[in-house]
C-alpha cells in the first residue's frame, strides 16, 4: 500500500515570554493508507502539537519552522490558507479530547452535525440529517440523542459523538488526540472497541495520540515513540513491543502494565523530560538513560534502520539485544 501521509523534518515552536520553545523538532513520520499509527510519549513531549500541526491549526503563538506534510503526495504546507482550509475535515479530520469544551455548548448535536455535513460536505439538510443518524448508529449512539445538547451527554457519549463528527465526510485520515484519556476504564474499553471496529470496517487510516502504550497495542499496527519533540523510534507495533530498540521505548514498556513480556514489577523512568526551551546537548534522553555512554552527551544520534520498517535514534541500536536484557532488570532503572 502507498504512503498516505508523509511528514518530513516538521518543526514547530511556541513563543513564550520571549523564549522559543521547540515543541516538535524535525519530525519524520509515514502513515500508509489503511493503517493506524499510535503516537506515544510522556506528557509534554509534543504529541498534541504535532497532531495539530498536521491539521495546520495551531495557537497564535505557535509557528511552523519548517518541514513538509504531504497528503497523497501533495505538500499541504505549500497550499494557500484558503486551499488548505478546503482540505480540512474532508480529507483530514480530528478527534479531540472532549473533556475539554470541544463541542459548542449552545448548539444541539444535530446542528453541529449539519454544520459539518452541509457547510463542508455540501449536503442538503435532509440528507445531512439522514447521514447524521447513520453516523450516530455507527459509533453506537442512539440517534434520538441528536437533538440533545453536548452537556446532556456523558463523557463516553461525547467522545463517540466527536468520533461520528470526524467520520462525517469520509476523510482520508483521522487524527485522534487522546481519544479515551478522560474516560473511566470501562467506558475507555467500549470506545476503544468502537474505534477498532470502525478501523476494520471502514479501512480507516488514523493517527492515535496517547500516552498509554496499551491503547496503541490494542488499536494500532504501527507505533511511533516521541520524546522531547523528536520521534525516537518507529515501526510496527509488534516489532516495537517485542524488540524495542531505543532505551526510552524499553523504559516505557517497563512502565506499562499488561505487555507480552512482563518484568517483575512496573518500573517508572526516573527524572522528567527536559525543558524544551533549552534541550540538553547530544541525545535528549541521555540525562535519564541508564545505558548512556559518554558519546551520547556529545552529539545527536541519527535514526538507524534496525530492520525493514523499524528505526530508532540511538547510538547503541546495534547492541539492542543486550540492552533489552539489561532493561528488563528493575535495578537498571533505579539508581
Amino acid at each position: 500500500m502507498g504512503t498516505l501521509l508523509e511528514v518530513k523534518g516538521l518543526s514547530v515552536s511556541y513563543r513564550r515570554g520571549g523564549v522559543a520553545v521547540r515543541a516538535v523538532d524535525a519530525v519524520d513520520l509515514d502513515v500508509p493508507a489503511g493503517a493506524m499509527l499510535g503516537l506515544v510519549g510522556e506528557s509534554g513531549c509534543g504529541k498534541s502539537t504535532l497532531a495539530r500541526a498536521l491539521m495546520g491549526v495551531l495557537p497564535g503563538n505557535a509557528s511552523i519552522d519548517g518541514g513538509r506534510v504531504a497528503l497523497d503526495g501533495e505538500d499541504l504546507t505549500e497550499l494557500t490558507p484558503a486551499k488548505r482550509r478546503q482540505r480540512l475535515w474532508r480529507e483530514l479530520s480530528f478527534v479531540p479530547q472532549t473533556s475539554m469544551n470541544a463541542l459548542d455548548p449552545v448548539y444541539r448535536l444535530r446542528d453541529q452535525m449539519r454544520e459539518v455535513l452541509c457547510e463542508r460536505g455540501g449536503l442538503p439538510t435532509k440528507a445531512a440529517d439522514e447521514r447524521a443518524v447513520a453516523l450516530f448508529r455507527s459509533v453506537g449512539l442512539d440517534p434520538v440523542r441528536l437533538t440533545d445538547f453536548p452537556h446532556q451527554f456523558s463523557g463516553g457519549m461525547r467522545q463517540r459523538a466527536a468520533i461520528a463528527m470526524a467520520l462525517a465526510l469520509n476523510p482520508k485520515l483521522v487524527i485522534a488526540d487522546e481519544p479515551v484519556t478522560a474516560l473511566d476504564v470501562i467506558v475507555q474499553r467500549q470506545v476503544l472497541d468502537t474505534i477498532r471496529r470502525l478501523g476494520r470496517d471502514l479501512g480507516l487510516s488514523a493517527i492515535i495520540v496517547t500516552h498509554d502504550i496499551s491503547v496503541v497495542t490494542y488499536l494500532c499496527g504501527l507505533t511511533a515513540v516521541m520524546y522531547a519533540g523528536r520521534i525516537v523510534e518507529q515501526g510496527t507495533t509488534e516489532a516495537l513491543t517485542r524488540r524495542p530498540t531505543h532505551p526510552y521505548t524499553m523504559g516505557l514498556m517497563n512502565a506499562s502494565p499488561d505487555l507480552h513480556e512482563p518484568v517483575e514489577t512496573l518500573v517508572p523512568i526516573e527524572g522528567a523530560p527536559p525543558d524544551l526551551a533549552d534541550p540538553p546537548k547530544g541525545c535528549r534522553f541521555a540525562p535519564r538513560c541508564p545505558l548512556a555512554l559518554a558519546a551520547c552527551r556529545e552529539s545527536d544520534p541519527p535514526p538507524v534502520v534496525v530492520e525493514p520498517g523499524h528505526s530508532a535514534a540511538c547510538f547503541r541500536a546495534a547492541e539492542a539485544g543486550a540492552l533489552r536484557e539489561a532493561a528488563r532488570k528493575a535495578s537498571t532503572w533505579t539508581r
Binding site: R52, M55, V57, R85, Q86, R87, L88, W89, R90, S93, F94, P96, M100, N101, A102, L103, D104, P105, V106, E115, V116, E119, R120, F149, H151, Q152
Partner: protein
C-alpha cells in the same frame, strides 16, 4: 420550575425589604414630613384627612401595617402638592420612561455588541488600541454632561431636534398610543436616546470584547477551525453566539438599573418620566409622590433582575437542564 419559584420568592422578599427601608427612612427622620412639609394652604380638614390616610396619628408599628396594606393594594396616597393620587401620576409618566430606556438600551446593545465583537476580532490592532480607552471614557463621562454637549450641538447649534420635553406644547392626541407613535414624540425622543445610548454602550462593548477573547481560546473554536469553517462563520456562529449569553443578562439588569439611572438624563432633556417626577417630588418635599416614584423604580429594577435570571436560563441550555 423549583428554580423559578425560588427566584420569585426571593424577588418578593427583596421588594418587601425595600418598601420597609423606605418606610423607616421617611418615618424615622427627625422631622415628621407631614407636619414639616404640609402645604400651608391645606385646610385643617385636608390636613386631618392626609394624616388619617397615612395613619400618622397611630403608633409606628400600626403605621407600618397600614403602609404595607396600602402598598399591597396599589394605594400610594395623595401627592402633597398636586393633590392627586400618586399612582395616577406615576402611571402617567411610566410609559415615557420605559420607552426611553428600552430604545436607548436596544441601540446601545446592538452597537455595543457589534463594537465589542470587532474589537475582539481585531485585537492588537491600532483600531482596538484607540477604541478601548475611548469606550472607557464614555463610561467615565457624566451622563448629564454628555446630554449637555448633545443639546448644544444638535438642538441649539444645528437646530435639528427639540431641546426638551416629549411633545410640542399644547399638542392633543386621541390616545396614549397615538401620542407615542407620533412623529413629534419620536423627534423629542432622539436626543435623550442618543445620549443614553452613548453612555450605555460601553458596558456591552467591553463585556462582549472580553467574552469573545475568552471564548476564542475555547477548544470548540479551535475545532471549528479544524473543520475548515470560514473565519466569518466561526466568529459569528460560535464565538459571538457564546459571547452574547452574558450580554442578555446584562441587558435585563441594565434595563432595571437604567430606569433609575435615567433620573439625570430625564432632567437634562426635561423628559416627563419617572426620574424627573422623583427629582421634582424630592425637591418640593412631596414625600408621598417621591415615595411612590422610588418604589416603582425599585419595582422595575427588582423585576428586571428576576427576568435577567430567567432569560439566562432560556438562552444557555446548560442552565435550563439543571446543570450549573
Amino acid at each position: 420550575m423549583a428554580y423559578f419559584g425560588r427566584r420569585f420568592l426571593h424577588m418578593l422578599i427583596v421588594l418587601w425589604a425595600i418598601a420597609t427601608i423606605l418606610f423607616l427612612l421617611f418615618r424615622l427622620m427627625p422631622t415628621d414630613p407631614s407636619i414639616a412639609h404640609l402645604d400651608p394652604t391645606f385646610t385643617e380638614e385636608q390636613r386631618q384627612l392626609v394624616r388619617a390616610q397615612f395613619g400618622l396619628d397611630r403608633p409606628l408599628f400600626e403605621q407600618y401595617l397600614i403602609y404595607m396594606k396600602n402598598l399591597a393594594e396599589g394605594e400610594f396616597g395623595l401627592s402633597f402638592r398636586q393633590r392627586q393620587p400618586v399612582m395616577g401620576l406615576v402611571l402617567a409618566v411610566l410609559p415615557n420612561t420605559l420607552l426611553l430606556t428600552s430604545s436607548a438600551l436596544i441601540v446601545a446593545y446592538l452597537f455595543g455588541a457589534l463594537l465589542g465583537a470587532s474589537l475582539a476580532w481585531r485585537r492588537g490592532s491600532l483600531f482596538e488600541k484607540i477604541s478601548v480607552p475611548l469606550v472607557l471614557a464614555t463610561r467615565a463621562a457624566p451622563e448629564f454632561w454628555l446630554g449637555m454637549i448633545v443639546l448644544a450641538i444638535f438642538a441649539f447649534g444645528l437646530n435639528w431636534f427639540p431641546s426638551g420635553g416629549a411633545n410640542v406644547a399644547g399638542a392633543r392626541y386621541a390616545s396614549e398610543w397615538e401620542r407615542i407613535f407620533s412623529l413629534d414624540y419620536l423627534r423629542h425622543l432622539v436626543l435623550p436616546v442618543l445620549t443614553l445610548a452613548i453612555y450605555l454602550q460601553g458596558l456591552p462593548a467591553l463585556l462582549m470584547r472580553s467574552n469573545m477573547l475568552e471564548i476564542m481560546r475555547e477548544e470548540f473554536v479551535t475545532m471549528a477551525r479544524m473543520k475548515g469553517l470560514s473565519e466569518r462563520r466561526i466568529m459569528l456562529r460560535h464565538a459571538a453566539r457564546n459571547a452574547l449569553l452574558p450580554l442578555v443578562t446584562a441587558f435585563a439588569l441594565g434595563f432595571g438599573q437604567s430606569v433609575g439611572g435615567n433620573v439625570v438624563i430625564e432632567n437634562v432633556f426635561s423628559w416627563p418620566g419617572l426620574g424627573r417626577l422623583l427629582v421634582d417630588a424630592v425637591a418640593n418635599s412631596d414625600y408621598p409622590l417621591a415615595q411612590g416614584a422610588f418604589l416603582v423604580i425599585a419595582f422595575v429594577l427588582v423585576v428586571m433582575n428576576f427576568i435577567a435570571d430567567l432569560m439566562y436560563g432560556l438562552l444557555d441550555p446548560r442552565v435550563v437542564h439543571g446543570e450549573h
